[in-house]
Symmetry: C2
Subunit: 200 residues, 2 copies
Amino acid sequence: MVKIYGMAQSGNCYKLQLLLSFLQQKYEWQDIDILSGETQTPEFLKRNPAGKVPLLEIESNTFLPESNAALFYLANESTFWPSDPLQQANVLRWMFFEQYSHEPYIAVARFIKRFLPKDHPRHSELPELHQKGSTALKLMNQHLADNVWFVGDTISIADIALFAYTHVAAEGGFELSQYLNIKNWISQVQQQPHYTPMVL
Amino acid sequence: MVKIYGMAQSGNCYKLQLLLSFLQQKYEWQDIDILSGETQTPEFLKRNPAGKVPLLEIESNTFLPESNAALFYLANESTFWPSDPLQQANVLRWMFFEQYSHEPYIAVARFIKRFLPKDHPRHSELPELHQKGSTALKLMNQHLADNVWFVGDTISIADIALFAYTHVAAEGGFELSQYLNIKNWISQVQQQPHYTPMVL
Protein backbone atom coordinates (compact mmCIF):
# COMPACT_ATOMS: atom_id res chain seq x y z
CA MET A 1 0.00 0.00 0.00
CA VAL A 2 1.41 3.43 -0.91
CA LYS A 3 1.77 6.11 1.73
CA ILE A 4 1.27 9.84 1.28
CA TYR A 5 3.01 12.42 3.43
CA GLY A 6 0.80 15.46 3.08
CA MET A 7 -1.28 18.30 4.41
CA ALA A 8 -4.96 17.85 3.65
CA GLN A 9 -5.63 21.55 2.97
CA SER A 10 -2.95 21.60 0.25
CA GLY A 11 -4.32 21.27 -3.27
CA ASN A 12 -1.13 19.54 -4.40
CA CYS A 13 -1.69 16.85 -1.75
CA TYR A 14 -5.41 16.60 -2.52
CA LYS A 15 -4.58 15.70 -6.13
CA LEU A 16 -3.26 12.32 -4.96
CA GLN A 17 -6.16 11.72 -2.59
CA LEU A 18 -8.66 12.47 -5.36
CA LEU A 19 -7.00 10.15 -7.89
CA LEU A 20 -6.72 7.31 -5.37
CA SER A 21 -10.37 7.78 -4.44
CA PHE A 22 -11.41 7.60 -8.12
CA LEU A 23 -9.28 4.46 -8.46
CA GLN A 24 -10.71 3.05 -5.20
CA GLN A 25 -7.18 2.33 -4.09
CA LYS A 26 -6.34 2.34 -0.38
CA TYR A 27 -3.38 4.27 0.99
CA GLU A 28 -1.75 5.31 4.22
CA TRP A 29 -1.72 8.99 5.09
CA GLN A 30 0.73 10.83 7.35
CA ASP A 31 -0.13 14.40 8.27
CA ILE A 32 2.73 16.83 7.73
CA ASP A 33 2.11 20.38 8.94
CA ILE A 34 3.91 22.70 6.50
CA LEU A 35 3.07 25.78 8.56
CA SER A 36 4.83 24.49 11.67
CA GLY A 37 7.96 23.48 9.73
CA GLU A 38 7.46 19.71 9.53
CA THR A 39 8.77 19.61 5.93
CA GLN A 40 12.10 21.11 7.08
CA THR A 41 13.09 18.61 9.79
CA PRO A 42 16.25 16.52 9.20
CA GLU A 43 14.07 13.40 9.23
CA PHE A 44 11.76 14.71 6.51
CA LEU A 45 14.60 16.16 4.40
CA LYS A 46 16.15 12.68 4.30
CA ARG A 47 12.96 11.48 2.61
CA ASN A 48 12.60 14.52 0.34
CA PRO A 49 15.59 16.87 0.13
CA ALA A 50 13.31 19.47 -1.53
CA GLY A 51 11.38 19.76 1.76
CA LYS A 52 7.94 19.67 0.20
CA VAL A 53 4.70 17.73 0.29
CA PRO A 54 3.08 15.74 -1.12
CA LEU A 55 5.64 13.00 -0.95
CA LEU A 56 4.64 9.55 -2.14
CA GLU A 57 6.24 6.51 -0.50
CA ILE A 58 5.82 3.75 -3.05
CA GLU A 59 7.36 1.06 -0.92
CA SER A 60 9.47 1.22 2.20
CA ASN A 61 12.13 3.90 1.57
CA THR A 62 11.23 4.49 -2.09
CA PHE A 63 10.06 8.09 -2.27
CA LEU A 64 8.63 10.11 -5.15
CA PRO A 65 8.29 13.90 -4.76
CA GLU A 66 6.31 16.29 -7.02
CA SER A 67 2.54 15.97 -7.05
CA ASN A 68 2.20 15.63 -10.81
CA ALA A 69 4.94 13.00 -11.08
CA ALA A 70 3.13 11.07 -8.35
CA LEU A 71 -0.16 11.39 -10.28
CA PHE A 72 1.58 9.92 -13.32
CA TYR A 73 2.95 7.00 -11.31
CA LEU A 74 -0.38 6.20 -9.65
CA ALA A 75 -2.45 6.59 -12.85
CA ASN A 76 -0.23 4.38 -14.95
CA GLU A 77 -2.29 1.45 -16.33
CA SER A 78 -5.57 3.23 -15.53
CA THR A 79 -7.80 5.25 -17.86
CA PHE A 80 -6.56 8.42 -16.14
CA TRP A 81 -3.37 8.08 -18.22
CA PRO A 82 -4.28 7.62 -21.91
CA SER A 83 -2.53 5.04 -24.06
CA ASP A 84 -2.00 7.21 -27.15
CA PRO A 85 1.43 8.97 -27.09
CA LEU A 86 0.08 12.29 -28.39
CA GLN A 87 -2.70 12.25 -25.79
CA GLN A 88 -0.12 11.40 -23.13
CA ALA A 89 1.96 14.39 -24.25
CA ASN A 90 -1.10 16.61 -24.07
CA VAL A 91 -1.88 15.40 -20.55
CA LEU A 92 1.67 16.41 -19.58
CA ARG A 93 1.26 19.69 -21.45
CA TRP A 94 -1.63 20.68 -19.17
CA MET A 95 0.19 19.40 -16.08
CA PHE A 96 3.25 21.53 -16.90
CA PHE A 97 0.89 24.45 -17.57
CA GLU A 98 -0.62 23.85 -14.13
CA GLN A 99 2.73 23.96 -12.35
CA TYR A 100 4.17 26.90 -14.31
CA SER A 101 1.25 29.18 -15.22
CA HIS A 102 -1.54 28.30 -12.77
CA GLU A 103 -0.41 27.04 -9.35
CA PRO A 104 2.16 29.82 -8.70
CA TYR A 105 -0.68 32.37 -8.93
CA ILE A 106 -3.92 30.62 -8.00
CA ALA A 107 -2.57 28.45 -5.18
CA VAL A 108 -0.33 31.20 -3.83
CA ALA A 109 -3.18 33.74 -3.73
CA ARG A 110 -5.23 31.20 -1.76
CA PHE A 111 -2.30 30.53 0.58
CA ILE A 112 -1.89 34.25 1.33
CA LYS A 113 -5.60 34.92 1.87
CA ARG A 114 -6.30 31.76 3.81
CA PHE A 115 -3.21 30.95 5.84
CA LEU A 116 -1.44 34.28 6.49
CA PRO A 117 -2.58 36.98 8.96
CA LYS A 118 -4.60 39.84 7.46
CA ASP A 119 -1.76 42.33 8.01
CA HIS A 120 0.98 40.12 6.48
CA PRO A 121 3.10 42.02 3.91
CA ARG A 122 2.58 39.29 1.30
CA HIS A 123 -0.99 40.58 0.78
CA SER A 124 0.63 43.19 -1.49
CA GLU A 125 1.34 40.37 -3.98
CA LEU A 126 -2.36 39.73 -4.55
CA PRO A 127 -3.07 42.16 -7.43
CA GLU A 128 -0.31 40.65 -9.57
CA LEU A 129 -1.30 37.09 -8.59
CA HIS A 130 -4.91 37.84 -9.54
CA GLN A 131 -3.87 39.23 -12.90
CA LYS A 132 -1.63 36.28 -13.81
CA GLY A 133 -4.03 33.70 -12.36
CA SER A 134 -6.88 35.17 -14.42
CA THR A 135 -4.81 34.65 -17.57
CA ALA A 136 -4.58 30.94 -16.69
CA LEU A 137 -8.31 30.71 -15.97
CA LYS A 138 -9.19 32.41 -19.29
CA LEU A 139 -7.02 29.95 -21.18
CA MET A 140 -8.67 27.00 -19.43
CA ASN A 141 -12.14 28.43 -20.06
CA GLN A 142 -11.32 28.91 -23.74
CA HIS A 143 -10.02 25.33 -24.07
CA LEU A 144 -13.14 23.95 -22.36
CA ALA A 145 -15.38 25.74 -24.87
CA ASP A 146 -14.53 22.98 -27.37
CA ASN A 147 -13.56 20.13 -25.04
CA VAL A 148 -15.48 18.25 -22.36
CA TRP A 149 -12.23 17.19 -20.66
CA PHE A 150 -8.77 18.68 -21.01
CA VAL A 151 -7.50 15.77 -23.12
CA GLY A 152 -9.55 13.22 -25.06
CA ASP A 153 -13.01 11.96 -24.15
CA THR A 154 -12.50 10.97 -20.52
CA ILE A 155 -11.23 12.46 -17.31
CA SER A 156 -7.44 12.20 -16.96
CA ILE A 157 -4.78 13.25 -14.49
CA ALA A 158 -4.61 16.57 -16.40
CA ASP A 159 -8.14 17.30 -15.12
CA ILE A 160 -7.23 16.20 -11.60
CA ALA A 161 -4.08 18.36 -11.53
CA LEU A 162 -6.02 21.42 -12.71
CA PHE A 163 -9.10 20.74 -10.58
CA ALA A 164 -7.24 20.79 -7.25
CA TYR A 165 -6.62 24.53 -7.00
CA THR A 166 -9.19 25.71 -9.58
CA HIS A 167 -12.23 24.52 -7.62
CA VAL A 168 -11.09 26.46 -4.54
CA ALA A 169 -9.83 29.51 -6.47
CA ALA A 170 -12.52 31.66 -4.82
CA GLU A 171 -10.65 31.24 -1.53
CA GLY A 172 -7.79 33.16 -3.17
CA GLY A 173 -10.12 35.91 -4.37
CA PHE A 174 -10.84 34.70 -7.93
CA GLU A 175 -14.38 35.10 -9.21
CA LEU A 176 -15.25 31.84 -11.01
CA SER A 177 -18.77 32.91 -12.07
CA GLN A 178 -17.34 34.58 -15.18
CA TYR A 179 -15.84 31.28 -16.37
CA LEU A 180 -18.90 29.25 -17.30
CA ASN A 181 -17.04 26.42 -19.01
CA ILE A 182 -14.81 25.99 -15.97
CA LYS A 183 -17.85 25.92 -13.69
CA ASN A 184 -19.45 23.17 -15.78
CA TRP A 185 -16.19 21.20 -15.84
CA ILE A 186 -15.90 21.47 -12.03
CA SER A 187 -19.42 20.00 -11.71
CA GLN A 188 -18.49 17.19 -14.08
CA VAL A 189 -15.47 16.25 -11.98
CA GLN A 190 -17.58 16.35 -8.82
CA GLN A 191 -20.14 14.03 -10.42
CA GLN A 192 -17.62 11.31 -11.27
CA PRO A 193 -18.05 8.03 -9.35
CA HIS A 194 -16.06 7.93 -6.09
CA TYR A 195 -15.36 11.67 -6.08
CA THR A 196 -14.08 12.80 -2.70
CA PRO A 197 -14.15 16.45 -1.59
CA MET A 198 -11.13 18.35 -0.35
CA VAL A 199 -10.83 18.89 3.41
CA LEU A 200 -11.52 22.60 3.73
CA MET B 1 9.23 15.99 -40.18
CA VAL B 2 8.34 17.92 -37.04
CA LYS B 3 8.59 21.70 -36.95
CA ILE B 4 9.68 23.86 -34.03
CA TYR B 5 8.53 27.45 -33.61
CA GLY B 6 11.18 28.91 -31.35
CA MET B 7 13.77 31.47 -30.42
CA ALA B 8 17.29 30.03 -30.47
CA GLN B 9 18.48 31.99 -27.40
CA SER B 10 15.66 30.54 -25.28
CA GLY B 11 16.72 27.59 -23.13
CA ASN B 12 13.23 26.12 -23.34
CA CYS B 13 13.52 26.05 -27.15
CA TYR B 14 17.09 24.73 -27.04
CA LYS B 15 15.88 21.68 -25.08
CA LEU B 16 14.11 20.41 -28.21
CA GLN B 17 17.05 21.20 -30.51
CA LEU B 18 19.43 19.36 -28.19
CA LEU B 19 17.26 16.24 -27.94
CA LEU B 20 16.68 16.12 -31.71
CA SER B 21 20.42 16.50 -32.27
CA PHE B 22 21.16 13.61 -29.89
CA LEU B 23 18.53 11.56 -31.72
CA GLN B 24 19.94 12.65 -35.11
CA GLN B 25 16.41 13.52 -36.16
CA LYS B 26 15.84 16.29 -38.71
CA TYR B 27 13.34 19.06 -38.09
CA GLU B 28 12.11 22.34 -39.52
CA TRP B 29 12.73 25.49 -37.52
CA GLN B 30 10.78 28.74 -37.64
CA ASP B 31 12.26 31.71 -35.81
CA ILE B 32 9.81 33.47 -33.52
CA ASP B 33 11.07 36.66 -31.90
CA ILE B 34 9.52 36.82 -28.43
CA LEU B 35 10.98 40.26 -27.75
CA SER B 36 9.25 41.86 -30.74
CA GLY B 37 5.87 40.30 -29.87
CA GLU B 38 5.73 37.49 -32.43
CA THR B 39 4.19 35.08 -29.88
CA GLN B 40 1.24 37.46 -29.41
CA THR B 41 0.04 37.84 -33.01
CA PRO B 42 -3.45 36.49 -33.85
CA GLU B 43 -1.81 34.01 -36.24
CA PHE B 44 0.50 32.60 -33.55
CA LEU B 45 -2.21 32.57 -30.85
CA LYS B 46 -4.30 30.36 -33.13
CA ARG B 47 -1.48 27.83 -33.00
CA ASN B 48 -0.76 28.25 -29.29
CA PRO B 49 -3.36 30.20 -27.27
CA ALA B 50 -0.80 30.44 -24.43
CA GLY B 51 1.35 32.66 -26.67
CA LYS B 52 4.63 30.93 -25.88
CA VAL B 53 7.51 29.13 -27.54
CA PRO B 54 8.69 26.50 -28.06
CA LEU B 55 5.74 25.17 -29.94
CA LEU B 56 6.08 21.78 -31.62
CA GLU B 57 4.12 21.11 -34.81
CA ILE B 58 3.91 17.34 -35.00
CA GLU B 59 2.10 17.25 -38.30
CA SER B 60 0.26 19.91 -40.23
CA ASN B 61 -1.97 21.73 -37.70
CA THR B 62 -1.22 19.40 -34.77
CA PHE B 63 0.49 21.56 -32.18
CA LEU B 64 2.04 20.69 -28.83
CA PRO B 65 3.03 23.50 -26.43
CA GLU B 66 5.20 23.23 -23.29
CA SER B 67 8.86 22.38 -23.76
CA ASN B 68 8.89 19.42 -21.38
CA ALA B 69 5.75 17.86 -22.86
CA ALA B 70 7.40 18.18 -26.27
CA LEU B 71 10.56 16.50 -24.92
CA PHE B 72 8.40 13.62 -23.70
CA TYR B 73 6.71 13.25 -27.08
CA LEU B 74 9.98 13.34 -29.03
CA ALA B 75 11.85 11.02 -26.66
CA ASN B 76 9.18 8.35 -26.61
CA GLU B 77 10.63 5.03 -27.85
CA SER B 78 14.20 6.29 -27.37
CA THR B 79 16.56 5.67 -24.45
CA PHE B 80 15.98 9.27 -23.33
CA TRP B 81 12.64 8.09 -21.89
CA PRO B 82 13.21 5.01 -19.69
CA SER B 83 10.92 2.00 -19.89
CA ASP B 84 10.53 1.38 -16.15
CA PRO B 85 7.45 3.18 -14.72
CA LEU B 86 9.22 4.33 -11.54
CA GLN B 87 12.13 5.69 -13.57
CA GLN B 88 9.64 7.40 -15.87
CA ALA B 89 7.99 9.00 -12.83
CA ASN B 90 11.39 10.17 -11.59
CA VAL B 91 12.19 11.71 -14.97
CA LEU B 92 8.94 13.65 -14.70
CA ARG B 93 9.73 14.51 -11.08
CA TRP B 94 12.89 16.34 -12.19
CA MET B 95 11.11 17.95 -15.13
CA PHE B 96 8.39 19.33 -12.84
CA PHE B 97 11.13 20.48 -10.46
CA GLU B 98 12.76 22.25 -13.41
CA GLN B 99 9.61 24.14 -14.35
CA TYR B 100 8.53 25.01 -10.79
CA SER B 101 11.71 25.45 -8.74
CA HIS B 102 14.48 26.13 -11.27
CA GLU B 103 13.39 27.86 -14.49
CA PRO B 104 11.36 30.67 -12.81
CA TYR B 105 14.56 31.80 -11.04
CA ILE B 106 17.53 30.73 -13.14
CA ALA B 107 16.04 31.45 -16.57
CA VAL B 108 14.36 34.66 -15.42
CA ALA B 109 17.60 36.02 -13.89
CA ARG B 110 19.34 35.33 -17.21
CA PHE B 111 16.50 37.00 -19.12
CA ILE B 112 16.76 40.15 -17.00
CA LYS B 113 20.55 40.38 -17.15
CA ARG B 114 20.86 39.48 -20.80
CA PHE B 115 17.83 40.87 -22.59
CA LEU B 116 16.69 43.90 -20.58
CA PRO B 117 18.43 47.32 -20.48
CA LYS B 118 20.76 47.89 -17.54
CA ASP B 119 18.41 50.45 -15.97
CA HIS B 120 15.25 48.32 -16.27
CA PRO B 121 13.29 48.14 -12.97
CA ARG B 122 13.18 44.34 -13.10
CA HIS B 123 16.86 44.28 -12.07
CA SER B 124 15.54 44.73 -8.51
CA GLU B 125 14.20 41.14 -8.71
CA LEU B 126 17.71 39.69 -9.02
CA PRO B 127 18.61 39.20 -5.32
CA GLU B 128 15.49 37.09 -4.69
CA LEU B 129 15.96 35.19 -7.97
CA HIS B 130 19.57 34.42 -7.03
CA GLN B 131 18.55 33.17 -3.61
CA LYS B 132 15.81 30.88 -4.90
CA GLY B 133 17.84 29.74 -7.91
CA SER B 134 20.74 28.81 -5.62
CA THR B 135 18.40 26.57 -3.63
CA ALA B 136 17.64 24.69 -6.85
CA LEU B 137 21.33 24.42 -7.78
CA LYS B 138 22.23 23.11 -4.31
CA LEU B 139 19.57 20.43 -4.57
CA MET B 140 20.84 19.37 -8.00
CA ASN B 141 24.45 19.35 -6.79
CA GLN B 142 23.46 17.20 -3.81
CA HIS B 143 21.59 14.71 -6.02
CA LEU B 144 24.54 14.47 -8.41
CA ALA B 145 26.88 13.56 -5.53
CA ASP B 146 25.42 10.04 -5.67
CA ASN B 147 24.17 9.90 -9.25
CA VAL B 148 25.91 10.17 -12.61
CA TRP B 149 22.66 11.16 -14.34
CA PHE B 150 19.47 12.51 -12.79
CA VAL B 151 17.61 9.22 -13.28
CA GLY B 152 19.08 5.78 -13.87
CA ASP B 153 22.35 4.99 -15.62
CA THR B 154 21.93 6.96 -18.84
CA ILE B 155 21.14 10.46 -19.96
CA SER B 156 17.40 11.13 -20.14
CA ILE B 157 15.11 14.05 -20.95
CA ALA B 158 15.37 15.00 -17.24
CA ASP B 159 19.03 15.84 -17.86
CA ILE B 160 18.21 17.73 -21.05
CA ALA B 161 15.46 19.77 -19.36
CA LEU B 162 17.78 20.73 -16.50
CA PHE B 163 20.84 21.27 -18.69
CA ALA B 164 19.26 23.97 -20.87
CA TYR B 165 19.27 26.81 -18.35
CA THR B 166 21.82 25.38 -15.87
CA HIS B 167 24.74 25.45 -18.29
CA VAL B 168 24.14 29.15 -19.02
CA ALA B 169 23.26 30.07 -15.42
CA ALA B 170 26.38 32.28 -15.24
CA GLU B 171 24.68 34.63 -17.72
CA GLY B 172 22.08 35.27 -15.00
CA GLY B 173 24.75 35.92 -12.38
CA PHE B 174 25.00 32.46 -10.80
CA GLU B 175 28.48 31.25 -9.83
CA LEU B 176 28.69 27.61 -10.94
CA SER B 177 32.26 27.02 -9.68
CA GLN B 178 30.90 26.18 -6.23
CA TYR B 179 28.80 23.32 -7.62
CA LEU B 180 31.43 20.77 -8.63
CA ASN B 181 29.02 17.92 -9.30
CA ILE B 182 26.95 20.13 -11.57
CA LYS B 183 30.09 21.20 -13.44
CA ASN B 184 31.07 17.56 -14.04
CA TRP B 185 27.57 16.70 -15.15
CA ILE B 186 27.57 19.63 -17.62
CA SER B 187 30.81 18.26 -19.14
CA GLN B 188 29.29 14.82 -19.40
CA VAL B 189 26.30 16.16 -21.32
CA GLN B 190 28.60 18.11 -23.61
CA GLN B 191 30.64 14.97 -24.32
CA GLN B 192 27.66 12.93 -25.47
CA PRO B 193 27.69 11.95 -29.16
CA HIS B 194 25.93 14.50 -31.39
CA TYR B 195 25.84 17.20 -28.70
CA THR B 196 25.00 20.58 -30.19
CA PRO B 197 25.73 23.86 -28.38
CA MET B 198 23.14 26.55 -27.71
CA VAL B 199 23.19 29.63 -29.93
CA LEU B 200 24.52 32.29 -27.58
